[in-house]
Amino acid sequence: MTDPPISTDTYAASRLMIETLAPLYGLKVDAMRAAELQPLVEKLLRHGAQLTQSTPPDLEPYFVGPPSRARAT
């Protein structure tokens, strides 16, 4: 059985994520600033969504460390 594709509305997601900036991190983001940030945030979320939707399971992350640790096991 194949999982259904995830539908990503990156515009809506970007608006939601920008709304977290003030309450979560204390950043100074008013409505005008939110509008300025929206295109870049949407673009980045699109990059992230593509990765998340196409990454196979059972794959351990590579974090900081010598490259020899990065080889798949």
């Binding site: 970007s14 994520m17 920008i18 977290t20 900036l21 991190y25 204390g26 950043l27 100074k28 983001v29 600033r33 300025e36 940030l37 870049l40 945030v41 980045l44 979320l45 990059h47 992230g48 969504a49 593509q50 990765l51 998340t52 990454t55 794959l59 351990e60 992350p61 590579y62 974090f63 900081v64 460390g65 010598p66 490259p67 020899s68 990065a70 080889r71 798949a72």
Partner: protein, 478 residues
């Protein structure tokens, strides 16, 4: 004692001149300080000139040389460092208002290492703000000496400009997505991004911990190898530092370049590189082909995927690093730096983790490519230096693309994998702008990559060029 043209001098030549008594560290240092005073008012490559400190170090080296002491290839060599590398007692700004008055109490590990080698620090170099791709108006751009109407690249812009203009013998830069290789290419100098873990990042401002690299920028490949030897080695204070790894410039001589197999990612050249620049790169590949065993076409992993992985690591790591200042003094950043940092704060953790999961796959895919070829060859940038007026977009073969996307697509893959990659000059456009060729290799085979680059440099047999802005005003010292 014969005259020496300091503007065209290399580290290797200066060392020989010291040993033969044709030049002294103090005389050379004074010559560079004079050139900085005469030319850098226009070029703006230095943020801080440490003249007194330089003279004291040069005097010591001169006295010790006279007494028969020589601490090696960097002894008495005048260098300068990108201004995000901590220098004890010397302002370290990161070219940002955020750190405008910061004076570190200790040196970065690389600065300590170079001081121990007897190198002379001339000062701290201009850069794009916090290494994040934007000029802060308080500091202004470091101007490209080949054409002040064109960008010097970044973020190690001052490092490239100072070396190209003959204001120092070598410089240190940092590279998170191409910040050593792009300005090196656009200013006509050599820039090497070492293997991740080979050079300590301790005491160097982070942009993205898992993508950042410190490396040399010089006039020749041999000089890059000499400077890399001076800064390479394990540092327990850097969590990413690789134990038991060293680099010796002499290892370049042991590489049998004639046996090397070279791979060219022609699909990337077709799709992402300016036509005129591509022609120059193809000529350089032909010159290199005559020196190596084989040249074949290879397919790199998806550049779109590589770009996504770079962004999903770079943006959130930079945002995390800058949270304290982003919260308290966001107005002090240049507008685009602030925008990138705030946008990076929105990235969900799952995307960051998935980027690191995909990174593992990409590293494995590059390792498979390197079972067939020893060195990859591609341009260092998709275009020659872009006009200073370009702010957010660049045009490649008539198509407009985001500047960050267009540049990082070519250099960023080797930040994602952590593999070594060098940019070496390989020609110039009809407009007289330098073009760089990028050579990349296996992890910790920096000597192989540099040996191949040195072979190309020799095959081209191009005399070291000085930019027109400073060529007719070089100083000779005796």
């Amino acid at each position: 004692m014969s005259a020496v043209d300091v503007a065209a001098l290399t580290i290797a030549e200066a060392g020989a001149a010291f040993r033969e008594g044709r030049l002294s560290p103090l005389g050379l240092t004074e010559a560079y300080l004079d050139r900085i005073q005469r030319f850098d008012g226009e070029l703006n490559s230095f943020i801080t000139v440490t003249a007194d400190q330089a003279r004291a170090a040069a005097q010591l080296a001169t006295d010790e040389l006279a007494a028969g002491t020589n601490r090696g290839a960097l002894y008495g060599i005048p260098l300068a460092y990108k201004d995000l590398i901590a220098t004890a007692g010397v302002r370290t700004t990161s070219a940002s208002r955020i750190h405008a008055n910061r004076i570190p109490r200790t040196d970065a590990t690389v600065v300590k290492a170079l001081a121990a080698s007897g190198a002379v620090m001339l000062g701290k170099l201009n850069m794009l703000e916090c290494a994040y791709g934007v000029v802060h108006p308080d500091f202004g751009p470091a101007l490209n000496p080949w054409s002040t109407a064109h960008s010097s690249g970044g973020s190690s812009s001052g490092s490239a400009v100072a070396v190209a203009a003959g204001l120092c013998l070598g410089a240190l830069g940092t590279d998170t997505g191409g910040s050593i290789r792009i300005p090196a290419a656009w200013c006509g100098v050599v820039g090497h991004k070492p293997t991740y873990g080979l050079v300590s990042r301790h005491g160097v401002d982070a942009l993205s911990w898992s993508l950042d690299h410190v490396g040399p920028m010089t006039r020749t490949v041999q000089d890059a190898a000499i400077l890399l030897e001076g800064i390479a080695g394990y540092d327990p204070r850097d969590p990413g530092s690789a134990p038991n790894r060293h680099f010796r410039a002499a290892d370049l001589d042991r590489v049998e370049v004639k046996r090397l197999r070279v791979g060219v990612p022609r699909a990337l050249l077709d799709s992402a590189v300016d036509r005129e620049l591509r022609g120059l790169v193809e000529q350089a590949i032909e010159q290199l082909a005559a020196q190596v065993a084989t040249v074949e076409t290879v397919d790199l992993p998806s550049s779109a995927e590589l770009l996504s992985v770079e962004y999903m690591i770079l943006y959130p790591e930079a945002a995390a690093e800058h949270q304290p200042w982003l919260r308290t003094q966001p107005e002090d950043y240049a507008p685009l730096t602030r925008e990138r940092l705030e946008a990076g704060s929105t990235i969900p953790a799952i995307h960051y983790i998935d980027a690191h999961r995909r990174r593992r796959v990409l590293i494995e895919q590059f390792a498979q490519i390197h079972e067939r070829v020893d060195v990859l060859v591609l341009p260092s940038a998709p275009i020659a230096a872009m006009p200073l007026s370009a702010t957010t977009e660049l045009t490649i073969n008539g198509e407009r693309t985001d500047i960050f996307d267009g540049l990082i697509r070519i250099t960023g893959p080797f930040n994602v994998t952590g593999a070594p990659a060098v940019s070496v000059p390989c020609g110039e456009t009809a407009d007289g702008l330098p073009v760089g060729l990028q050579l990349a290799g296996r992890h910790f085979e920096d000597h192989v990559v540099l040996a191949a680059a040195r072979e190309l440099e020799h095959a081209r047999a191009a005399a070291l060029q000085l930019p027109p802005l400073v060529v007719d005003r070089s100083l000779e010292v005796a």
